[in-house]
Symmetry: C2
Subunit: 183 residues, 2 copies
């Protein structure tokens, strides 16, 4: 039976859906660099996230220098895998683009959506990644800022450590019907 | 030429990657319900998100009753499309599962990652969705809590309004190289 356009769209959708469920945190990487074009694809995915009032209050720092990666590993105890990883992306809130007053903190949600897009894009493209939290732990924010020499208007939300996975990552099944209410 | 397993994996990855870039906010829906099985698929995607120390501090409220959808539209001025939409998912932080002390607010990032997964899953499955912000606007949190009768340990982060899209959603190209630093 021949496939219609609608069938193809459904197959693609199914593939994209399954990719969301099969993502796992990856902390162990092959000794192999991530190509620059691949890095840009991850950054593009990050910027495809939605943001409050379309302010796009993010700044993405792509780190491949070994010296800076080691500094990131020291700055955040959960980012120790950055020590030998080929790549980290530090997702920052850009306070020059954030909303004002009571809406300022929407940057956290916007940058988190961008971060999740980066994790999913990494998984889709055959990479592995792990989100290690920085903000709102102020001492970690200060340490990451110092490690990278960030200007004061950039607040580091996290360090996403990335590389080609060593071994086969195993996703957890986190579905829990008691965390749902229907109404 | 025959396709190898690796070729197929690359095709699938490409599809999943493109799906992240082609997502758009959708605020106009067909007059058609979202099947219960589809709702569960969205909720499963939400719970596949990563969370700090794997606490999974979310509670997902899936709203299909017209009365409650209208209340949600009134509670949050940006959620007016809920008035006629078939479905909304209110992503809440569950303070009984959140981390303690200085780490408590990681729930915002965890629930934002879950929200982005729901948006991407909706897009992958042929639905359209829009994230309308509630937290940290306290008056909107109170209004959404009242509208749904939420217990005090649940904090509504947003109202994700969902339905089958009317017309063809157009994604924005938000790529901006000046929001990147390489180091």
């Amino acid at each position: 039976m021949e496939k219609t356009d609608k069938d193809s769209a459904q197959d693609s959708g199914q593939t994209a859906y399954v990719s969301i469920l099969s993502r796992a945190s990856v902390r162990s990487y092959e000794d192999r660099p991530v190509e620059r074009a691949m890095v840009e694809r991850l950054l593009r995915a990050g910027m495809a996230a939605p943001s409050a009032v379309d302010r796009r209050p993010w700044h993405l720092v792509a780190v491949t220098s070994r010296d800076k990666l080691v500094r990131l590993a020291v700055a955040n105890p959960y980012a120790s895998c950055a020590r030998t990883a080929p790549l980290a992306i530090v997702v920052c809130g850009n306070m020059r683009k954030a909303l004002e007053g009571a809406d300022r903190d929407f940057w956290i949600q916007d940058c988190s959506a961008a971060s999740e897009n980066i994790l999913l894009a990494a998984h889709a493209l055959g990479l592995g990644a792990v989100w290690t939290g920085t903000y709102p732990r102020m001492e970690r924010c200060a340490a990451v800022s110092r490690a990278l020499g960030l200007p004061p208007h950039l607040i580091p939300l996290n360090t996403i450590v990335i590389g080609y996975p060593k071994g086969e990552p195993r996703p957890k099944d986190k579905w829990n019907p008691s965390d749902v209410t229907y109404m």
